[in-house]
C-alpha cells in the first residue's frame, strides 16, 4: 500500500522521467505541487497530458465563457491549457478567479463576463456564489466540479444558484490526476465509475462496506502506483448501470486522517492536538466533528468538539473555558484562529460537549470527522 508520504518519492520519479527525455511539446507537461499538510513535505511531480487526461474533455470540450475556480495555480494552469486545447477555438474565454478577487466589485465583473460554464472545486464555487447575480447564475449551463464531495448543503446551494446548469463531475486528486470517468447521468451525486485502467479497492471495509479508498493507476513513463491510500472513504457498488458499466464507487469524503478542508480553512489534526495538549488537565480525549451549514447564500463552517473526562461531570463553565481556549488558540489558516474566522463570519461559534463515555476506537484513531448530512 502507498501512503501520501510515499508520493514525495513518486513525484521525484516523474521529475526524473521528465529530465531524462528531451522536451517534445511543452503543452504536454504540467508541474504539480501539493502543499504539505502535516508531517510530510510538499509533493512536486510532473504530469504528462499527452495520455490519460482525455476524460477531462467532458469539462473542456466546446467550452465557451468559463470561470475557473481552483485554489492552486497549477490547477488553473492545467485548466487553461486544457481549455486552449479542447475549448471552442473562437469563443472560449477563461476567467481564473483568485481568492483576492472576492470583493464586492467582483459581482459586476462576473456579470460583465457572463459565464456559461464553471470549472473547479465545490468549496471555491461556494465562496464565489455570493458574487454571482441570479441572472448570471441562470445563464450558467454546466458545472464541472471535482476534488471534493458535493455535500447536501452544497448541492442545495448550487441547485438554487444555477437552476439551468447540469453537472459534469470528476473524482480526481492533484498528485495522480483523474480516478473516475466524468459523471454518469444514471448515478446519484458523489457516485462515480472508475476511469478505465484505474483499479479501486476498499481497505478494511466496515459492515456497510465503507473504508479507505485504495487506487491503482499507471502514471506516465510507466510509473505505476499500487493501492494508493488517497485519504478518502468510499464504498464500492457492483450493480450494472444502464450506461454499461458494472462498477461504481460512492465517495464518502475525507473522514479525517490528518486534515479536513472546510470553507477555505484547513483543520489540521496536529493543530487540534497541539491546542488539546495545553488543556490536558481539563480533559483526556476529544473528537472533532466539522460540517457545513447554509446561511442564506453563504456556506459557513461549523465545528463541534466532544471532550471526554473520567469522573466528574462537566459544568457549563468547564465547556465554556474549553471552547474559549480552542477558539483563541486554534489556527485554521496560517494567520487566522477560529475566533478570527468566527469574527469574519466564515465559521459559526464553536460548540463543546462533555462526555464521560470513552470514545470508540473504531477507525483507529480518527479524531477529525467531516459530517456530511
Amino acid at each position: 500500500m502507498i501512503e501520501r508520504k510515499d508520493f514525495v518519492r513518486i513525484g521525484d520519479m516523474t521529475l526524473a522521467d521528465f529530465f531524462a527525455s528531451p522536451l517534445q511539446n511543452a503543452y504536454d507537461w504540467v508541474v504539480r505541487t501539493t502543499s504539505g499538510t502535516s508531517e510530510q513535505g510538499p509533493i512536486v511531480s510532473v504530469m504528462n497530458l499527452s495520455s490519460g487526461s482525455e476524460e477531462r474533455q467532458g469539462w473542456y470540450f466546446d467550452a465557451e465563457r468559463t470561470i475557473i475556480c481552483m485554489g492552486a495555480f497549477n490547477s488553473r494552469v492545467l485548466s487553461a491549457l486544457s481549455l486552449d486545447k479542447y475549448g471552442n477555438p473562437y469563443t472560449c474565454a477563461i476567467l481564473a478567479v483568485d481568492y483576492r478577487d472576492l470583493a464586492p466589485e467582483l459581482t459586476g465583473i462576473i456579470s460583465d463576463f457572463a459565464p456559461e460554464r464553471i470549472i473547479g472545486f465545490p468549496s471555491f464555487l461556494a465562496r464565489l456564489i455570493p458574487y454571482i447575480s441570479p441572472e448570471v447564475g441562470s445563464g450558467v449551463q454546466k458545472l464541472c466540479l471535482g476534488g471534493e464531495m458535493i455535500t447536501p448543503v452544497l448541492a442545495k446551494l448550487f441547485a438554487s444558484s444555477f437552476p439551468n446548469a447540469s453537472y459534469c463531475l470528476l473524482y480526481a486528486a492533484g498528485e495522480i490526476g483523474s480516478i473516475s470517468e466524468t459523471t454518469c447521468t444514471y448515478l446519484p451525486l458523489n457516485y462515480y465509475h472508475p476511469l478505465r485502467g484505474v483499479t479501486i479497492e476498499i481497505l478494511d471495509p466496515d459492515e456497510t462496506g465503507a473504508g479507505d479508498l485504495l487506487v491503482s493507476k499507471v502514471l506516465h513513463g510507466g510509473i505505476s502506483i499500487e493501492k494508493y491510500r488517497i485519504g478518502d472513504m468510499a464504498r464500492i457498488h457492483k450493480n450494472s448501470c444502464p450506461c454499461g458499466y458494472n462498477l461504481a464507487f460512492e465517495s464518502l469524503g475525507r473522514k479525517g486522517h490528518d486534515y479536513i478542508k472546510l470553507v477555505g480553512a484547513l483543520l489540521l489534526r496536529a493543530e487540534f492536538d497541539r491546542v488539546a495538549i495545553g488543556m490536558k488537565t481539563l480533559f483526556e480525549d476529544y473528537r472533532v466533528e466539522a460540517s457545513q451549514v447554509l446561511d442564506q447564500r453563504t456556506v459557513k463552517g461549523k465545528i463541534h468538539i466532544q471532550v471526554f473526562r473520567i469522573g466528574l461531570p462537566g459544568t457549563e463553565a468547564f465547556t465554556t473555558e474549553i471552547a474559549d481556549r480552542f477558539s483563541r488558540e486554534l489556527f485554521l489558516t496560517p494567520s487566522q484562529t477560529l475566533s478570527d474566522l468566527v469574527a469574519a463570519d466564515v465559521f459559526l461559534p464553536l460548540s463543546v460537549e462533555f462526555t464521560n463515555v470513552p470514545f470508540e476506537q473504531k477507525h483507529k484513531d480518527v479524531k477529525l470527522f467531516l459530517k456530511i448530512a
Binding site: 505541487t33 510532473v46 497549477n74 486552449d84 477563461i94 481564473a96 478577487d101
Partner: protein, 260 residues
C-alpha cells in the same frame, strides 16, 4: 505613423463588432489627432462592448485601478508578446494572479514549461529547486520573495524578466548577479508589453515592434499596432513621461501636443 497603423485604425473605425473607438473618434480621421482613451473608458464600458474579435483566450481582472475592469487577451495575442525570455523551465512570481496565468500560457506558447507561484511561496521555492527552474518572470514587488531561491542556486539564472509600469533601478540592481541577463519590460495588464530595457543604473528603454509611445501633456500615451481582442490605441497612461527613458528611434513620439 506607418501605413499599416492607418489601415488598422480604419479597420477598427469600421468594425461591425464594436463602436468603442469609433464613437469616441467621431469624424476625426488623422491617426495623430485621435482622442486618447484611459482606464476610465475601460471601467465605464463593459467588456462585451469593447471586444473587437472573438478568439479563444484569457480574461483578466485588472484591480490596479480605482474600480476593477476586465481585459481579454486571445492566446494568439499572448504568444506575440515580447518578454525577451528564453529558457526551459521559467519560474513565475507575479503579484497579480491573472497575470501569472497569462504569463504561464505565454511560456507554453514559447515551448517552455513554467512553474507558477502558489499561495505558499515557500512551497513554490521548494518546487523550483526540484524542477530546476532556470529563468524568472517577476515584478518588482514579488522579487524579494524569490530571493531564497536565487541565493541557494550555485549558478545564475539564464534570464530574468521584470514586468512593471515603473522601475527603481537602485532597488533592482542588487539582483543583477542572479541572472546572466535581466530585462525590464514596461507593461500594463491591459496593454501588454510596450518597451524593454536591460537592467542598469539608468535603463534605456527600446519601444517594442508594433508599439508606439507618445509624450502627451507630460504623460505617456501608448498604442499597439496589433490586432488585439481589446485594441490599444492612444491609451493614456498614468505614468509621467519623465519616469522612463526611451532610446531614439521608431515608436517614440517626443511631443504629440505640438502636432496639433
Amino acid at each position: 505613423m506607418s501605413q499599416s497603423l492607418e489601415a488598422y485604425i480604419e479597420r477598427i473605425r469600421t468594425s461591425p463588432v464594436s463602436d468603442f473607438y469609433s464613437s469616441r473618434w467621431k469624424s476625426i480621421t488623422d491617426p495623430t489627432l485621435l482622442p486618447t482613451i484611459s482606464r476610465r473608458d475601460l471601467i465605464e464600458t463593459p467588456l462585451s462592448l469593447r471586444r473587437y474579435e472573438r478568439r479563444s483566450g484569457i480574461v483578466k481582472v485588472v484591480w490596479d485601478a480605482s474600480i476593477p475592469f476586465l481585459s481579454e487577451w486571445s492566446f494568439t495575442s499572448i504568444a506575440e508578446e515580447e518578454l525577451g525570455l528564453r529558457a526551459a523551465r521559467p519560474l513565475i512570481f507575479l503579484s497579480d494572479p491573472h497575470e501569472a496565468i497569462e504569463k504561464a500560457m505565454w511560456c507554453y506558447q514559447h515551448d517552455m514549461v513554467p512553474l507558477v507561484e502558489e499561495r505558499s511561496s515557500e512551497v513554490t521555492l521548494y518546487a523550483a529547486r526540484k524542477f530546476r527552474c532556470d529563468a524568472l518572470i517577476t515584478d518588482p514587488s514579488s522579487l524579494p520573495r524569490v530571493l531564497p531561491y536565487l541565493k541557494g542556486k550555485s549558478d545564475p539564472l539564464s534570464s530574468m524578466t521584470i514586468i512593471s509600469d515603473s522601475f527603481e533601478p537602485e532597488v533592482l540592481l542588487p539582483y543583477a548577479h542572479y541572472a546572466r541577463k535581466i530585462d525590464l519590460v514596461f507593461s500594463f495588464p491591459e496593454t501588454g508589453a510596450l518597451a524593454r530595457a536591460v537592467l542598469s543604473e539608468d535603463p534605456l528603454f527600446t519601444v517594442l515592434p508594433n508599439c508606439i509611445v507618445e509624450y502627451l501633456d507630460d504623460y505617456l500615451v501608448v498604442t499597439k499596432n496589433a490586432p488585439l481582442t481589446t485594441p490599444v490605441i492612444r491609451y493614456r497612461t498614468n505614468i509621467p513621461a519623465h519616469c522612463l527613458k526611451f532610446s531614439e528611434g521608431e515608436g517614440v513620439i517626443r511631443d504629440s501636443s505640438n502636432r496639433v
